[in-house]
Point group: C2
Chain length 304, copies 2
């Protein structure tokens, strides 16, 4: 009889869950539930535990067959278990593993920052499978990076490894970043940043999305082309700095924007090569492969 | 009877050697020899082996009492043994461990990049002793950084981890860096860079050194003050980016310039705090402790 591992990716809107075979690492069942952030997020972990038990009951799987559960958390995680505020879930500082252990009845619980956990997923089963080191950069509302070295997540002394969204890249930016500073990378090169650049360039469409900006850029719209080029330029430059620090085998780029294909990637690669140190010039830069499932894969691989 | 480890730090001018107790890690004997770079550096390793045998003979230590020797190499080292050009020793690509094993008769040889090896020394016995992660930035002719994570050297997929001297920090720089690009960090914040900034500011003394620039800055010379402030500003900003990537427990700054004390460090800290991500704001920034001995300590700790 096969044992299983649970991968849980807690997002601001939904919690994704996956059941993985401990033998093969394959995803055998996946589902999601809403993230109830009210009352300082107190329902989130009990909701997860209850949904998990429902699914295990339906599959007639006793807890003894569950080897453990991994949690991807949208914020810094210290020592693989302490949530240290900074999530958008309303949580304070507490031992998320101890709390979920009690609520789920599963003894083996591990946790990591969601960007880091997604990078682990990509490194074990996705775009960086077989690589010993990789950096996954996810372009969404913000920019998060997960760094894998020697096959393991790099968390950092303060849980802040990979916080490249707040690289200072522009002086004189009038708008403030979510972090309170001005001129952070994610103000330009995230999906949100791309829209902001296009609006600033003078494109005033209602409900403008990063995909629209990318599609219009491909069609030759000069405002959108300039926005995409600027985002790619700043991102490639940031990646050259990351390479000068950790020198990974491969860079993966995830998030919806990364589906824009070579139109976007060729610009990123060219900006990267213009700045990278000679030894790292040829580092691979390619799209992430697991998409929104990277988190549950990585969370399960905290256990597997 | 105690066993020993040998630490060897190969520089462009001299090779430093140290004999370390394998029990205590203490340095029991140190010496140096010139680095003969002629004929593509072919004499360097035989010179080291011969000097080492002389010392061991004098101390009546048989090779059987030597647990191994570590080599610090001024250039990228792949897989802990392959020198991949890029040294200033004239060497091509070869297995430096195999070569030195044969020449010295010592079976256990390990090698690493000199900046990385020095960082290992500081992390085991110097300014970062007791820390699990540290970044040592050495300000000399260039700028090298060694990164220690989980107590181990981070080399990078191409041996280029910590090559922060080539961070692009200024547009429009007319002079070229040693790497061929323009506007690299080490053009401003290395010891050489500091002198360059002071000369550019209009200070035209013969034989100007970084120490003179620092001393004159302390005495209130506006040109030198401006050079030191610019160097510290760019360095602190670069360190904020390094922290956003690897988030170390501590930054150590080494090289002669780091002896300038709080006058220099307070400026670096303030630039760092202006840019660092909030979780890493309070990361310690302090002088390295082992000075020019860091390399032999670290090289011995490749073995110990």
């Amino acid at each position: 009889m096969t044992d299983y591992a649970i991968g849980i990716d807690i997002g601001g809107t939904t919690v994704k869950l996956g059941l993985f075979s401990a033998d093969t690492g394959d995803l055998t069942e996946q589902w999601e539930i809403p993230t109830r952030r009210e009352e300082k997020g107190r329902y989130i972990l009990p909701d997860i535990a209850s949904s998990l038990h429902d699914v295990l009951d339906r599959l007639s799987l006793p807890l003894s067959r569950i080897r453990g559960a991994g949690l991807g958390i949208p914020g810094p995680v210290l020592e693989g278990r302490i949530v240290n505020r900074g999530t958008n879930l309303g949580w304070g500082r507490f031992d998320v593993c101890a709390a979920f252990r009690e609520q789920s009845g599963i003894p083996n619980i591990k946790a990591g920052n969601d960007a880091n956990v997604a990078a682990l997923g990509e490194a074990r089963r996705g775009g960086a499978a077989g690589c010993r080191s990789a950096v996954l950069i996810t372009l969404g509302t913000g920019i998060g990076a997960g760094i894998i070295l020697n096959g393991q997540i790099l968390s950092g002394a303060n849980g802040a490894a990979g916080e490249i969204g707040h690289f200072h890249v522009r002086d004189g930016e009038p708008e403030a970043c979510g972090c309170g500073r001005h001129g952070c990378l994610e103000q330009y090169a995230s999906a949100t940043g791309l829209v902001r650049l296009a609006r600033r360039g003078g494109l005033n469409l209602p409900e403008l999305t990063a995909k629209t900006v990318m599609d219009r850029a491909k069609a030759g719209d000069p405002i959108c082309l300039s926005a995409v080029s600027e985002a790619a330029e700043l991102l490639g430059d940031a990646m050259a700095r990351i390479a000068a620090v950790v020198d990974p085998e491969v860079f993966l780029i995830g998030g919806g924007v990364s589906r824009a294909g070579d139109f976007f990637f060729s610009r990123i690669r060219s900006a990267y090569r213009a700045r990278a140190f000679r030894s790292s010039l040829d580092t691979n830069i390619r799209p992430a492969e697991l998409g929104p499932q990277a988190g549950i894969y990585g969370a399960a691989h905290l256990i597997l």
